[in-house]
């Protein structure tokens, strides 16, 4: 477009320059003609003047010759006279020719002629009349001369007048000529200047056109190169079919598509047809017909077979171009779409996969919706650009609305918030605008029906791949949960209170029970001492039984107190060496050990975090149990073993982890018990034997269990009647 435009401009400039040059040429021509005419007229004037002077001189000469002849009668004079007459005639003719254009001068010349001819006539008549001799002759001569003089005088005057006339003309013409002479250089310079200007302009235009032509040329070269590359890359070839000359031209890549070397054979239909797949020959013929008929070929498909037997799918399109001079060329593009077809197939399979994913997503979305209903929550997205929220269906339901029944904006949402909690939402909204995430916030809303619900919202600010910022949030109706947790808290509190009270009761009961019991025992001792002599044997026996009962009661109360203390005491764990604890308990039990001759074997124990006093109590209770329930006829044997174990290898722990535990076994060879009672023995006041056989309160092992539990450990009993018992204690490492 640009090029043709500039061409148009150039053409206009050229035409204009031509016109201007022609115009200037015409003016110059006219000017030069004027000058030459002026100089010619000038010359004529000079010639007229010259001729007039000649004429007059000749007339005077003829007069003189005539007078000479008349006076002397010498015929030589007559001859010279005749010569001069001839000259006069010649001059006159010349004058006549010269003054032909000038009216005044012509009139003057006629007058002059009249005078000259009159004079000639007179002279001729004189000469005839003139007597040969005598006085008369002289007189006559004088008379003739006189008359002739007057005539010459008149001629002279006439000639002078004519010369004067010519001079005045000359003056005029001279003036004109001078003017023209003066104008000539200006004109010439002007012409030169204009021509120069036009030349520069034309040069400028031409050079610019040339430049454009060069850029266009480069572009063309580039695009040619690119299209060449493109042809190879995207596997298409181009062809030209001149309908006038019936010649074909194939691009290099067209040959390549056919599986041949570029330009390796002449581009003709006859050479091309052998490549076409036999089944598609018809299609190709139709293509050729269509081009000629429609002048434009819609996408047409056919196959070719390469020399190596490869079948390629091609797609062809073309268009008829009619140019100047009856040019008719079909330009076409043929594309190898074999790989594209494969790609399409791949795309189709991808599409199928996408549809599958889509379906899965739909399922997910549906299950998400259901989850929202079940879990009493709704999700939403805030678009910062529009300030518009998108709510999930259930979010609407939570607010007491039909799904998607209004457009949620911050103002609309704030209307639903409990007035006292509005600031929470406003704050969170402001924070989120500043790009902060919304941590969990809890607030109340008032539903349309006026019920107040408690909502919890969490939201996260997200920037997507296009740099768009959105806030994605989840809101849950936690009213039920909140109420439940409130109830649970209340219950927990009650329970704690109950336990506390129970412990308090236990402690106070056992503590306060001690007091009267102590008095009873003191009174018994008082009676025993003071009434020793007065009491009957019967009374003494009863008093003894009262004493035994009171001692037993004391034991019960003491143990109970200890048990409640195991509960009550502050559980401050300090690093405790179990060997030391064991040593202390052995000291406590030393008397019993000595009495029963107990043999004790012991492995080195670890140190654990615990309550030293309680751990000592644990060992004391366990050992005293073993001593108490030893077989009468057998030497009591107690062995304490220790190992470090992994939780998952210890069945009773029921814990599948890699946590380490300290495992301590207390094994004796005592009376043992049925394994079915393995758990019962740890219950409070649980006794497996009669009071009279073995004394005890049934609190000892309960205290042990309590102590182990205080140390986050576990205790188990394994036993066989008459074989012995093993108590296993686990403490976490």
């Amino acid at each position: 477009m640009k090029i043709s435009n500039s061409q148009f401009v150039s053409r206009i400039i050229f035409t204009l320059s031509l016109f201007v040059l022609l115009f200037i040429g015409a003016i110059t021509f006219k000017h030069t003609t004027n000058i030459s005419r002026a100089s010619k007229v000038l010359l004529e004037t000079y010639e007229v003047n010259l001729a007039l002077e000649h004429l007059f001189n000749d007339i005077v000469d003829s007069e003189n010759s005539l007078r000479g002849y008349l006076i002397t009668s010498d015929t030589t004079h007559l001859r010279s006279y005749r010569n001069t007459i001839k000259k006069v005639n010649y001059s006159f003719l010349l004058l006549k020719a010269l003054t032909n254009e000038n009216q005044i001068q012509r009139d003057n010349l006629r007058m002059l002629y009249h005078y000259i001819s009159e004079r000639n006539n007179k002279i001729t008549s004189f000469m005839e009349l003139l007597p040969e001799n005598g006085v008369n002759r002289n007189q006559e001569l004088r008379k003739i001369f006189k008359e002739s003089d007057t005539l010459i005088q008149e001629i002279r005057e006439k000639v002078s007048e004519m010369i004067a006339n010519e001079e005045s003309y000359l003056k005029q013409r001279n003036l004109k000529y001078t003017n023209q002479i003066y104008l000539t250089p200006i004109l010439a310079f002007g012409i030169l200047f204009i021509i120069l200007l036009l030349l520069i302009l034309t040069y400028y235009r031409t050079s610019r056109n040339l430049e454009q032509l060069q850029t266009t040329n480069t572009k063309l070269k580039k695009s040619q190169f690119l299209s060449y590359q493109a042809e190879i890359l995207s596997e298409f070839g181009t062809w030209e079919w001149d309908l006038i000359t019936q010649t074909l031209k194939y691009s290099d890549n067209f040959y390549r598509i056919l599986g041949a070397e570029p330009q390796s054979f002449e581009a003709t239909n006859e050479n091309f047809f052998p490549f076409v797949h036999p089944e598609d020959m018809g299609a190709v013929n139709t293509i050729i017909e269509k081009i000629l008929e429609l002048e434009e070929l819609p996408y047409s498909y056919y196959r070719i077979i390469r020399k190596d037997g490869q079948i390629r799918n091609l797609r062809a399109t073309g268009k008829l171009f009619t140019g100047e001079g009856g040019m008719k060329i079909v330009l076409g593009v043929t594309e190898d779409i074999t790989t594209e077809t494969a790609k399409t197939e791949l795309l189709l399979s991808n599409n199928e996969e996408l549809q599958k994913t889509n379906k899965e997503l739909k399922i997910l979305s549906e299950s998400g919706k259901q989850a929202e209903i079940l879990g009493n929550y709704g999700s939403w997205i805030l678009d910062y650009e529009t300030g518009r929220y998108t709510y999930s269906d259930n979010k609407f339901r939570l607010l007491g609305f039909e799904p998607q029944s209004f457009y949620p904006g911050i103002e609309r949402i704030l209307e639903l918030i409990h007035p006292e909690d509005k600031y929470l939402i406003e704050e969170a909204y402001q924070n989120s605008r500043e790009g902060k995430d919304i941590p969990s916030i809890t607030y109340r809303i008032i539903k349309q029906d006026g019920t107040i619900r408690l909502f919890k919202t969490i939201a996260k600010s997200i920037i997507d791949s296009r740099g768009k910022r959105t806030l994605i949030g989840t809101t849950q109706d936690i009213t039920e949960d909140y109420n439940k947790s409130l109830q649970l808290k209340e219950r927990n509190k009650e329970l704690e209170q109950t336990i506390k009270e129970l412990n308090e009761f236990n402690y106070v009961a056992s503590h306060d029970l001690q007091e009267p019991l102590r008095k009873i025992q003191t009174f018994i001792s008082r009676i025993k001492e003071k009434e020793k002599d007065t009491l009957t044997e019967f009374g003494k026996d009863y008093l003894h039984r009262v004493n035994v009962a009171s001692i037993r009661m004391r034991g019960l109360i003491d143990d109970l107190l200890q048990y409640s203390k195991a509960n009550k005491e502050k559980k401050i764990l300090i690093k405790t060496d179990l060997n030391k604890a064991l040593q202390n308990s052995l000291i406590v039990l030393s008397q019993k050990i000595e009495e029963k001759k107990v043999r004790l074997t012991q492995q080195r124990l670890p140190a654990i975090h615990g309550i030293p006093f309680q751990l000592q109590q644990l060992f004391t209770n366990l050992l005293s149990n073993s001593i108490k329930y030893s077989k009468e006829d057998t030497e009591p044997l107690i062995s304490i073993t220790y190992e470090k174990v992994i939780a998952k290898n210890e069945k009773p722990l029921q814990e599948n982890s890699n946590r380490y535990f300290h495992k301590i076994n207390f094994t004796d060879n005592g009376i043992g018990f049925e394994q079915v009672n393995g758990e019962k023995i740890f219950l409070l006041f649980k006794r497996l034997h009669g009071k009279t056989e073995y004394d005890g309160t049934g609190v000892g092992l309960a205290i042990c269990k309590k102590i182990v539990e205080n140390h986050k450990g576990q205790i188990f009993a394994y036993s066989k009647p008459e074989k012995g018992t093993t108590i296993t204690v686990y403490f976490p490492v």
Binding site: H511, Q514, E515, R518, Q521, T522, S525, R526, E529, R554
Partner: protein, 148 residues
């Protein structure tokens, strides 16, 4: 001679215990004057009464109405006047916590009430004789700590 007689005061709300206490001293062959009061308030009244001579030993039950033993102990030890008076805690409780606390607050002796009259007599006579030793030797009562 007043110095030969040891003045003892017991604050205990339990009548039986007061009786056992008095009876026990009656049977011990040491010259003593035993006074009993029913609570801490009465004890403080007695101590602050100018007409009375200060006792040598105060026996203090912990669990008492109106002003309990622990508070009583605090109040007595706050007063410089009574700094030479020995204080024996006389309680049913044998909890380590109580024992520790009372010693910290300035008690000299901690006695767990025994459940045998004979033992009671023994204990009381021990305490009195121990106190006498401190008195006659002019020992600092602050170092007098006894747990029975």
């Amino acid at each position: 001679m007043l110095t030969d007689t040891i003045r003892i005061i017991l604050a205990d709300d339990d009548e039986d215990d007061r009786n056992f206490f008095v009876e026990a001293f009656e049977e011990i062959k040491i010259k003593t004057i035993v006074t009993t009061v029913r609570n801490g308030s009465e004890l403080l009244q007695q101590l602050n009464d100018c007409r009375n001579v200060l006792p040598h030993i105060i026996f203090l039950d912990l669990n008492m109405p109106i002003i309990n033993g622990m508070d009583c102990l605090k109040l007595i030890r706050e007063n410089e006047t009574f700094k030479n008076v020995a204080i024996a805690i006389y309680s049913t409780s044998s909890s380590e916590e109580d024992i520790e606390n009372t010693f910290v607050l300035g008690a000299n002796i901690y006695i767990k009430k025994p459940n045998d009259f004979h033992i009671l007599k023994k204990i009381l006579s021990n305490v009195v004789s121990m106190n006498l030793q401190f008195e006659t030797n002019g020992l600092n009562k602050e170092n007098f700590l006894l747990r029975i």
